[in-house]
């Protein structure tokens, strides 16, 4: 169960200031998360409690060699993962929306929940995504906090750790960001 080589080194390089490392890192993590996420979304049944951090954790455990990673790397990884999860879910929603527009209208009885997820919330998800982009132009940190909390599933504490800011700041920003987004979406 050796993690693939490279991801750990990329994380380390990135934390040393090498921005190109992030570009190389993204596709690997993206692939893994997309695979994980789709299986979670498709297989998880109502009634189970989902633990999104567990998902990112699994990806982290899988991709990063714990022995050579620094402790900051985990926070970094969660940060990247949240960003990527957002992309994955939004992509997913876009595809669904496109399918619906071109829709054949056929109603298949299917156990794959991928079909059912998308009906109403896609719109929300896409709208949220766009509102979040708007928020980022006026307050990047708040947008990042929403990304980590909502798409990454991180707690206040974890978010504070990833961003290197205090819990209190995360709480305050989160409160305002939510109010702002709610208003934009209503």
């Amino acid at each position: 169960m050796q993690p693939p080589e490279g991801v750990t080194q990329l994380l380390v390089d990135w934390s040393n200031g090498d921005q190109s490392a992030l570009d190389k890192l993204m596709p690997v993590v993206y692939d893994e998360l997309r695979r994980l996420a789709s299986s979670y979304l498709r297989r998880e049944r109502a009634g189970h409690t989902l633990q999104p951090t567990a998902l990112v954790n699994e990806a982290y455990m899988k991709l990063v060699d714990q022995r050579n990673a620094r402790w900051q790397n985990r926070a970094q990884f969660f940060g990247v993962a949240a960003q990527l999860m957002r992309r994955i879910l939004v992509d997913h929603a876009r595809v669904r929306q496109a399918q619906k527009r071109g829709g054949s209208g056929q109603q298949q009885l299917s156990l794959s929940h991928a079909d059912r997820i998308a009906e109403k919330p896609d719109i929300d998800l896409l709208a949220l995504h766009e509102a979040l982009n708007d928020l980022a132009t006026i307050d990047e940190q708040q947008a990042r906090i929403v990304e980590l909390r909502f798409f990454g599933g991180l707690t206040i504490e974890e978010t504070a750790e990833v961003l290197g800011i205090s819990h209190a700041t995360v709480e305050r920003d989160w409160t305002l960001a939510r109010a702002w987004l709610r208003r934009e979406l209503s």
């Binding site: 169960m1 050796q2 893994e32 695979r35 994980l36 996420a37 299986s39 979670y40 979304l41 498709r42 297989r43 998880e44 049944r45 109502a46 009634g47 189970h48 989902l50 633990q51 999104p52 567990a54 998902l55 954790n57 699994e58 990806a59 455990m61 899988k62 999860m85 957002r86 879910l89 298949q108 009885l109 299917s110 156990l111 794959s112 929940h113 059912r116 997820i117 009906e119 109403k120 919330p121 998800l125 132009t137 006026i138 307050d139 929403v146 909390r149 909502f150 798409f151 990454g152 599933g153 305050r172 409160t175 305002l176 939510r178 109010a179 702002w180 987004l181 709610r182 208003r183 209503s186």
Partner: protein
């Protein structure tokens, strides 16, 4: 669009307004916005939005997605094929199961709808169908009958007989009696046997796949279904991870716990895989927990691959040893070592059931007889069941304890117990599985022994009146010859050269260094070979080189395996380790050179005192672990001739107070198995060249409890056949709390001071030793392994209300402060102890003393702590030659006292009630007595006058008038263990 500055204003006003009461906000914002209406509106609208946000964004994105699944269209009423769905029975990882009505045959069926992703691949689907149909076609009463596997409108379904009952998972929640455990497992094994014989493997045996009908009938579900979820046949080593990430986490978590090592590794499965899973289910039925657990899937997998499940004795069950044997045999990591067929499991389970039924009929006095509760026995108020358990155990083990010095008897019992088990189960016999133990000497004082490569000679050292001598015996005629006369130097580390002609031994003086000598076996003068050696030597296969351990080398904080040629020249360090990791330099451990010449195995210790065995490559010194299991005591290790394994002496984590036993570890593989199972402490180890016989030195204590009024040894009388371990403690009302052993398990007991009215306070929860009683008599604090760690626990005097005081501390030697507020204790193993204190009501421990020391005791005025103390500048000197007294608040010793005589036999330290002196037990001339060391620095005086035997434990009553002690002979002999394969 807001500007950044504007946003800063909004932010501040938003938060300030929120901090105010709702009715004050308008006024506040009016003032704060100073007429800037748009700013005011912006903030107000955000506050309004905040107030009505509901649970907006509270749940992470994934959960939002999941909650939508609830809105999915209901299946009820839908027609799937000719089945009409009635209601949802359950959801599992492998699909939803509905109660449905067969519209053609007018009967109820269970309809399982398979998730699409598993039915996409036609080939796989077909293989599954074949297997499921084949299993159903067996018409076995314990295999669920499949009516139809079909497809309707792209939806794959399985229609099966509908069982009214519950899954074993649900059934287990109420707890199972032993007879029920056997009943269920016999039926499951029977189903598996039938399937296996037809070439069908289940692949996913777990409590969720076993239904128990109301009439007790058991049905195994979902034969072959796991095949659908499997990855392609060529799953590689990363298969497990991939499998984890590819499937539902809940499902995988459930499945992973029952997954076999080969499944975890992604290897092909066979019938023995099902046997593993059955073993897991059996374990869980008995223990109430899965054998392999962990907070994450990765941890569970690691446990499956590397660890042994907790022993029954540690998980509070007294299911019969035979059942544990069956489970352990099913849970062998190597498939070849498991039961090979379900038929074998079945017949062993049936035999056990019959035996217990027979026993139950025998004991008519008890209702439903030997229906031994397999559930946890609460520590409190279960004396009755504990007695039942003890009785059962006693019956099985025969005479577990004799106290009249009849070592032979103890011995027979132990061997008989193993023999009983081996007769009961006829199995493929592994190395040293069937053994015969012979006592070779009868001197009572054998320290160390070794056998010649041809098995003809035994050489042993004897300790008598603090002097050591070395003896040679021809095994065939028991003829002893002294080869080194008695002297003050200790003689240890005896090794024969490979050709058997020479004998190497190490001598050690308390103050001088250690020296390796060589002497011809058949007579001659000893020749000094080298100095500074801290273990026996082990020779290379060609006999030209030898390996040994050297402490404080190459640097002071290091220890090393050193290789030299057989005459002591050409030393080189093969591997060195820096503290806390170390090659522990004691003479009962030491290196072992492998028969192929490539590896040197050796015990490697780590702090806290857990150790394990590693092998070091002779060429480059690289290390590989021989097993992942940890031990609290480690002794010598030796290779089997064919290198299929090694034999060693060790005491495992869960039984730290148990003596060192002889173990086998497979190589490679690292699975450990105990060879001996008795109360004897084994120490060294040497083996004949053909690896059929091994010689070890044994130590057995055969103590009993004595009472001496006025501390007068002359009036002492034996009051109970009790061995106690590190703590006889008086209660304020004059009763005595102690720890004693039954059937290999140490527990805390209480009795009257005359030995009557003995009552057990702990039971069924690990090893429990070294009790201390609080000054007000409310609490007992003791060392327990009940949480699979060695920690201090507190109970009430009646045994109730257990509370863990330390966490993973390896805490021992508990002692109360006189105000009853603190417990002082030692941390780490002997030799590295440091003294700490922890509040009796629970809380943060505080370190008091960081020098090597143990057995802390607080003075009656609460100001001082006394300990046995080692102030040697040499970190590898393990002799505790002093008593130190330091402040209860910590710090350097304010007083130290030196002992005369042998420093290795002191165990107990006590203050006098007046606090003017310290009392301890001390051996001189093979007899131990209690000595009194005045605090003013005068000479220590012997205050008892026992003429024989050793004192293991003692306590004076609170008024100082009655002395209680456990004492008896300590018998040390050379033992030969013969492999009867």
């Amino acid at each position: 669009m807001l500007t950044i500055n504007r946003w800063q204003q909004v932010k501040e006003l938003f938060h300030s307004a929120l901090e105010r009461e709702p009715e004050e906000r308008d006024a506040y914002l009016d003032a704060a916005c100073r007429g800037d209406d748009s700013l005011r509106e912006e903030v107000l609208s955000l506050i309004a939005s905040h107030e009505q946000r509901g649970s907006f964004l509270d749940a992470p994105a994934y959960e939002v997605a999941a909650s939508l699944l609830e809105e999915a269209e209901p299946m009820q009423g839908r027609l799937v094929g000719h089945y009409r769905v009635l209601s949802l029975l359950g959801r599992g990882g492998m699909g939803e199961i509905y109660l449905a009505e067969d519209t053609k045959l007018d009967r109820k069926v269970a309809l399982k709808l398979l998730p699409e992703e598993w039915t996409e691949e036609m080939g796989r689907l077909r293989r599954f169908q074949l297997e499921a149909r084949a299993a159903s076609a067996l018409n076995h009463p314990n295999i669920l009958t499949i009516y139809e596997i079909g497809e309707s409108e792209g939806l794959h379904f399985i229609a099966t007989e509908f069982i009214e009952g519950e899954t074993l998972r649900e059934r287990m929640r109420q707890g199972l009696k032993l007879e029920e455990v056997l009943d269920v497992s016999v039926q499951v094994a029977s189903a598996l046997q039938a399937a296996h014989e037809a070439g069908i493997i289940h692949r996913d045996v777990k409590p969720e796949n076993i239904m128990v009908r109301r009439d007790g009938y058991v049905k195994v579900l979902d034969f072959g279904l796991a095949k659908l979820v499997e990855q392609s046949e060529s799953v590689n080593l990363e298969g497990a991870t991939r499998m984890l990430s590819n499937t539902n986490p809940g499902l995988v978590m459930g499945t992973v716990q029952y997954m076999s090592p080969e499944q975890a590794r992604g290897l092909p499965v066979d019938a023995r895989t099902d046997i593993w899973s059955l073993g897991c289910v059996l374990y869980e039925m008995v223990a109430g927990r899965a054998p392999f657990e962990g907070p994450t899937m990765t941890d569970v997998l690691a446990a499956i691959l590397e660890r042994e499940p907790p022993s029954f004795s540690s998980i509070m069950t007294d299911a019969p040893a035979e059942l544990e044997w069956i489970i352990r045999k099913s849970l062998r990591k190597e498939r070849d070592e498991r039961f090979q067929t379900a038929k074998e499991v079945l017949s062993d389970l049936r035999r056990l059931r019959e035996e217990l039924e027979f026993e139950a009929r025998g004991s008519q006095s008890k209702k439903s007889g030997a229906t031994i509760e397999t559930r946890a026995i609460a520590a409190v108020d279960t004396n009755a069941s504990v007695e039942v358990a003890a009785a059962t155990r006693g019956k099985r083990r025969g005479l577990a304890l004799a106290f009249a010095g009849l070592l032979a008897l103890v011995f027979v019992a132990a061997v008989a117990s193993s023999a009983y088990r081996f007769l009961w189960m006829k199995k493929a016999v592994r190395p040293f599985e069937k053994i015969n133990i012979t006592q070779l000497t009868s001197s009572r004082n054998v320290i160390h022994a070794a056998i010649s490569p041809d098995g003809n000679y035994l050489v042993y050292s004897i300790s008598d009146r603090e002097q050591h001598s070395l003896w040679l015996r021809q095994v065939s005629n028991a003829n002893d010859t002294m080869i080194v006369p008695p002297s003050d130097a200790g003689i240890w580390g005896i090794t024969f050269s490979r050709d058997g002609k020479d004998l190497y031994y190490v001598t050690r003086h308390l103050d001088e260094g250690s020296t390796l000598y060589r002497i011809p076996v058949l007579g001659g003068a000893p020749v000094k070979v080298l100095v500074n050696i801290d273990s026996p030597v082990s020779f290379s296969p060609d006999g030209r080189q030898m390996a040994f351990v050297r402490g404080a080398f190459p640097a002071r904080e290091e220890s090393a395996i050193v290789i030299a040629d057989k005459d002591g020249g050409q030393e080189r360090v093969l591997a060195s380790r820096r503290r806390p990791v170390r090659f522990y330099p004691i003479y009962f451990t030491g290196p072992a050179w492998s028969p192929d010449g490539e590896w040197i195995a050796c015990a490697l210790f780590n702090a806290p005192p857990y150790g394990t065995f590693s092998a070091f490559n002779v060429r480059d010194g690289s290390e590989k672990r021989l097993t992942e299991q940890r031990f609290t005591q480690l002794g010598r290790i030796e290779w089997l001739k064919d290198m299929s394994g090694l034999v060693f002496v060790g005491s495992d984590l869960l039984t730290p107070s148990l003596p060192g036993q002889v173990w086998h570890v497979s190589y490679p593989g690292g699975e450990t198995r105990r060879i001996t199972n008795d109360l004897i402490n084994y120490r060294g180890l040497s083996m004949t060249a053909d690896a059929t016989r091994l010689v070890t030195s044994s130590v057995s204590e055969v103590a009993s409890l004595w009472a001496a009024p006025d501390g007068d040894a002359g009036q002492a009388r034996q009051i109970a056949p009790i061995r106690s371990r590190g703590g006889l403690a008086f209660t304020p009302d004059g009763r005595v709390v102690y720890s004693t052993e039954t059937g290999g398990v140490w527990d805390i007991w209480i009795m009257n001071a005359d030995g009557t009215n003995r009552k057990q306070l702990t039971g069924g929860a690990g090893q429990n030793i070294e009790p201390a009683v609080s000054p007000d008599g409310r609490y007992i604090v003791f060392t327990s392994t009940r949480a699979s760690t060695v920690d201090l626990w507190r109970i009430n005097l009646d045994g109730g209300n257990p509370l863990q005081l330390t966490k993973e501390a390896f805490a021992t030697n508990a002692s109360f402060s006189p105000d009853g507020r603190w417990v002082v204790y030692a941390l780490g193993g002997r030799g590295t102890h440091r003294i700490w204190k922890v509040p009796v009501e629970g809380g943060e421990p505080r370190g008091l003393f960081n020098k090597p020391s143990y057995r802390p005791v607080v003075s009656p005025d609460g100001r001082w702590v006394a300990v046995f103390y080692n102030d040697s500048p040499n970190p590898y000197n393990d002799f505790f030659r002093k008593i130190a007294v330091f402040s209860f608040e910590g710090g350097a010793p304010v007083k130290t006292f030196e002992f005369a005589g042998n420093p290795t036999t002191r165990d107990v330290l006590q203050w006098t009630p007046e606090g003017d002196a310290l009392l301890y037990n001390q051996m001189k001339d093979n007899v131990s007595n209690i000595w009194r060391q005045p605090l003013d620095g005068g000479q220590a005086v012997k205050i008892t006058d026992f003429k024989e035997n050793l004192i293991n434990d003692f306590a004076y009553s609170r008024d100082g008038r009655l002395l209680l002690c456990t004492r008896g002979p300590v018998i040390r002999e050379a033992m030969m263990i013969t492999d009867l394969r």
